[in-house]
Symmetry: C2
DNA sequence: GCGTTAACTTTGTGGCGCAAAGTACTTTTA
DNA sequence: TAAAAGTACTTTGCGCCACAAAGTTAACGC
């Protein structure tokens, strides 16, 4: 019932407000690169869903992609950018602050 | 690039995938009860937005509300339910697991 | 009594998450 | 060697939902 001050969430980014995006960022923060198929199986999502989220993260400048062929197969691999790394860290910071209120 | 096993997120609940709802649950987990106006100022959201999220959480059985008058003013106060407490704890568990991959 | 503030709730809409369908290519099968 | 099936994605369409503007009810100021 007591009144409290507004919770300020400086680094919180709505773009990360999703299980798939959190998973992608988490995986890419811990690995130099990760490809589409591995991400898909890691996160247990459909192709279309994953593409959409990857595109959103890439458009925001948080990840980058490289398309190439491995043998005869197309292969797209993703990496976190510096901007992505710091934005994600800030988001997690804001999150844990929020959850500790 | 290495393949990994699917991340299983047992307690993850999409209902909590939102800053306002996380904030509400966090505040209610730490306080016996909290009223509408205090929540609104704590979270810095509009009335309509807060109402919608509170209703969603209440419909799910995660929080409960009591409407009364304090003096001449209406006052709605919210509390976390047992179900809400354990669901929220499970969600946070899944979250931190996801972020630690 | 009349506007203003307070405490909510209802309503309308834009945006977005999702999977089904589509594309382009390769591999298998018969 | 043609067709069928698989692989690696992308595009599309739809249904839901977060959001704030507007609405409601009642008290308070003047």
């Amino acid at each position: 019932m007591a009144e409290g001050n507004p919770i300020l969430l400086d680094g919180y980014d709505k773009l990360f407000e999703n299980r798939v995006r959190l998973g992608v960022m988490s995986v890419l923060a811990a690995n130099d690169s990760y490809d589409f198929v591995s991400l898909r199986q890691m996160l247990g999502v459909t192709d279309g869903n994953l593409t959409t989220h990857l595109k959103a993260l890439e458009t925001a400048g948080f990840i980058s992609s490289i398309k190439q062929f491995i043998g005869r197969k197309p292969n797209t691999s993703y990496s976190i950018t510096e901007q992505g790394r710091s934005a994600f860290a800030a988001h997690i910071g804001a999150l844990s602050k929020l959850l500790k209120v």
